[in-house]
Amino acid sequence: MASNIPAAGTPGATAAVDASTPRVGSSPEPRRFGPLTRQMFVRYAGASGDFNPMHYDDTFAQRAGYRSVFSQGMHQAALLATFATDWLGAENVRRFAVRFREQVWPDDVLTCIGVVTAIEERPDGRLVSVDLTATRQTGGVAVTATADFLLPR
């Protein structure tokens, strides 16, 4: 695990979060996750405590009528959360709301995009509201989210 700690300046490091001057309409570089693997689904199952076999047992999923296992909706939500917190700061999130749209399958590639929709100056900081979307390689929308981040001045 220690090797996963990024040096300052690498993506995800606090110093690399350029949240100082968000404006309505501003967007970060899109980020891709994937191709997604069954191992990622299993890792999320363990991390979240959701052991529904629909997400790691192909026999179970096929018996239920699906072509294979598919990813947990909350797994996609967590990937979108990584995109958003790398953009505006892990410590700054104050609201994160996701809507599950379309199933995500092994080998899918998700592309995350985001845009600032509103900025409110408050006594305790600058409240930045964003829209977030994770789209499959087919163009189908997997999950959408709205979130608020309180940026310290």
């Binding site: 990024p6 979240s48 009528g65 909706g73 797994h75 917190t85």
Partner: protein, 143 residues
């Protein structure tokens, strides 16, 4: 067996563990140092883990057929600085709403909104989770 609107579960303990945050950060493919420090903050969707700590009977009953159950929406609101590793939260579930809509191909779709309140050791409300569950009108099909 389903809990009516307004019904509450019983409060249960939810310790925020550093190792669990680290495991969650790995699963979300985040390398943010804020999730790796000894006083790590929780990721935006980390509170989904609270359910693992609920003793038998502490949660409200959604009461939907598991074969037709979908998780439609999930929201987390934080009323101040994020909870950190080492803190203990106290969680209570509540049935906030139930409603129905006609299914696209007939039948009835049922919705249930379950709110979980998270309080700190002093009893201050620090976070809320709001889950919308759907029972589809027919057995779930691939879109």
């Amino acid at each position: 067996m389903s809990s009516p609107v307004g019904a509450t579960g019983t409060e249960f303990e939810f310790p925020i563990e550093r190792g669990k945050i680290r495991e969650f950060a790995l699963a979300m493919q985040s390398e943010a140092p804020a999730y790796l420090r000894p006083d790590a903050v929780i990721p935006p969707t980390f509170l989904i883990n609270a359910a693992r700590w609920a003793p038998e009977g502490a949660r409200v009953e959604v009461g939907f057929d598991r074969r037709r159950l979908l998780h439609g929406e999930q929201e987390y609101v934080f009323h101040g600085p994020l909870p950190r590793a080492g803190q203990t939260l106290y969680a209570t579930e509540r049935v906030a709403d139930r409603y129905e809509k006609p299914g696209r191909r007939g039948g009835v779709m049922k919705f249930a909104v379950i709110v979980t309140e998270f309080r700190d050791e002093a009893g201050t409300l620090v976070a809320e989770g709001r889950a919308t569950f759907i029972e589809t009108a027919k057995p779930t099909e691939e879109k």
